[in-house]
Amino acid sequence: MLWALFRRDLLLIARSPAIWLPVMFFVLVAALFPFAVGPDARLLARIAPGIIWVAALLASLLPVETLLAPDVEDGSIDQLIARGIALELVCAARIAAHWLGFAVPLLAALPVAGVLLGLDAATGLRLGLALLLGTPALASLAVVAAALTAGLKGGGALAGLIVLPLALPVLIFGVGSDVAGAFRLLGAASLVALAVGPFAAAAALKPE
């Protein structure tokens, strides 16, 4: 069942022309900083991990309005509930599909952002690993925010306000990934977010 839901979600995400938006946004935000802080290569290389994490966080929020709201509006969620399918499963599948749809292209684009910011290969590799560990948490938070704001006006902006404070731990552990143990904390943050996310999102979607 989880597999069927996940396949469907992935298909719908992959077919949408909006699939490219998060990764484009990610590279664009990364390219914006040299304009804002000046092209000093040493400064850029020093703040690059922070820039890339913020860009990734913003990119994960970009598709929030299309993650669950259309399914609530067009009755797909009703159909799932009427079939007795657990919403927790639905949300877990959605988190996995969202992660594949935004984080994998983003990891693929990491070398581009790294080159633009003058990141050296070793730091870039560590950053890639950190993103791999931390982005599942971002995907989970995005789906929770999508569930909370589904059907509300201006849901996207609202979702940003909800997610950004919650994403702070991921950001802190992610940028501090050269400190010993940060990887483990990052992985732990993702595991917690993945464990709680489906239940929180499902609770928000449940009819009251």
Binding site: S16, G75, D78, I81, A82, R83, P207
Partner: protein
């Protein structure tokens, strides 16, 4: 509180019409039966599987009609029943058409075809004839008759006659 003291029993092969003016809770009662709304008090006793067709048709505009209905039929384990269901609602020729190109009547027929293909014992239909022309309403009536002949149940929120012979009715409001 939308309604209280409502009680009805439907036997296998039977049908129940929920009637009453707008805003009396026909749709809400139907959603309650479908598990989409919790009841403040009282209970719904039904052991089998339910299939629900509400106001929203749950069809993704970019997907083809066939792909959409196959997805739901797969979730229901009823992929084998789908061709007959499409035939019954006269949709077989439209399987390759993207849903965004369908008229509202065609979408409604698709929602009914999804109910047929679900293979559930209890059909919950919210104003199923809204937006259907006479011919399509006839197809629906035939499908409901076949479902009941096989021992199935139909509960429908309606405004007028939808061609359910010998149906009980529950007046709200």
């Amino acid at each position: 509180m939308l309604f209280e003291g409502v009680s009805a029993r439907v036997a296998p092969g039977g049908a129940l019409l929920l009637v009453g003016p707008n805003g009396t809770g026909k749709s809400s009662l139907l959603r309650l039966l479908a598990g989409l709304l919790p009841a403040a008090a009282g209970s719904v006793a039904f052991a089998g599987r339910r299939a629900f067709a509400g106001h929203e048709v749950a069809l993704k505009p970019r997907q083809s009609l066939g792909a959409e209905l196959s997805h739901w039929a797969r979730l229901d384990g009823g992929l084998a029943r789908l061709p007959a269901a499409l035939e019954a609602m006269n949709l077989a020729a439209l399987v390759d058409v993207p849903c965004r190109m369908l008229s509202s009547g065609q979408k409604r027929r698709a929602a009914i075809a999804r109910v047929i293909a679900a293979g559930a014992e209890l059909w919950l239909l919210d104003e199923p004839t809204a937006g259907l022309d006479t011919a399509s309403a006839g197809l629906l009536a035939r499908a409901m008759a076949a479902h009941r002949a096989a021992g199935g149940l139909v509960v429908a929120a309606v405004h007028g006659d939808i061609g359910l012979d010998g149906a009980g009715s529950l007046r709200l409001g």
